[in-house]
Symmetry: C2
């Protein structure tokens, strides 16, 4: 089982409370390396977003109080923005940031990502909290899970390329 999981990890999505989404995923790389990819503006375009999209970093000031904004370019030429602010950046353990999809401006989640050192692997748990259950359910219904699994697969591939 362990070797199967190592070959094809998937993210587990749960709803621990009526305002939260919890996502757990194992990456086959040491914690410092995974944390580095999450926080490197140069590498965001290599992995952030589902297959067929390319993220452009408009702003990414990775420190407490800093802001971030990515523009996602789709294969049909359309684009859409995402933004937020960093509430806490504690390398290599923890990032707390807000998340807002611009077409749903004013709907803001707080996403806490923790990076657990498992030796040559890393467990990343991201908990998103919303102001209301309706907003949480809106996110769940948006197709985010499929996009998320693809994003993590792209991150797997990038981690592998950077090692090689």
């Amino acid at each position: 089982m362990t070797s199967d999981q190592a070959q094809a990890p998937t993210a587990t999505v749960t709803t621990p409370t009526d305002r939260e989404i919890r996502i757990e995923r194992i990456f086959n790389a040491p914690r410092d390396r995974v944390f580095a990819l999450y926080t490197d503006p140069e590498l965001i375009p290599e992995w952030w977003g589902p297959y067929g999209t390319t993220a452009e970093v408009d702003e990414m000031d990775v420190r407490t109080g800093g802001r971030w904004r990515f523009v996602m370019h789709n294969s049909d030429g359309s684009q859409t923005g995402f933004r937020g602010a960093y509430r806490e950046v504690t390398a290599p353990e923890r990032i707390v940031q807000t998340f807002e999809w611009e077409p749903m401006a004013g709907h803001v989640s707080v996403d806490t990502a923790t990076f657990e050192d498992l030796g040559d692997r890393t467990r990343v748990v991201t908990t998103s909290i919303f102001h209301t259950t309706e907003e949480r359910d809106g996110m769940l219904g948006s197709g985010m899970e499929g996009g998320l699994q693809e994003t993590y697969q792209r991150l797997d591939a990038l981690l592998e390329r950077l090692v090689g």
Copy 2:
């Protein structure tokens, strides 16, 4: 009592749940006029913020999905920013917007203001919801209530000037 209230209205601040702040205030002007002042970028510098400050409107796109940003200039020359996005603007009844003080970037409340028509007066109820109780309590402990009472007194004075 009614005439006393009309002469010196004060805002009532309560905490209906552990993540909310509710503020109720009567203004001695018809609803259309009060709503107009809340949504007019030209007039924000005349009333938004406590005595001794001047608000500068950097951005104020009063429609669903639009963004706002004000810079508050203090009498000592310092300045601080506030920003958010409009989730709903239904004239002259209701405005839902996010609120973020830039030095506390990533701490975002959703503020719902309702404007109730009382004839020649208007009841404005603003309910702010926070992601956590800690953030709600941080706002309560920030001295916001004093600043709020002064802001509303400045709005009273402006409403009176515009009638006269």
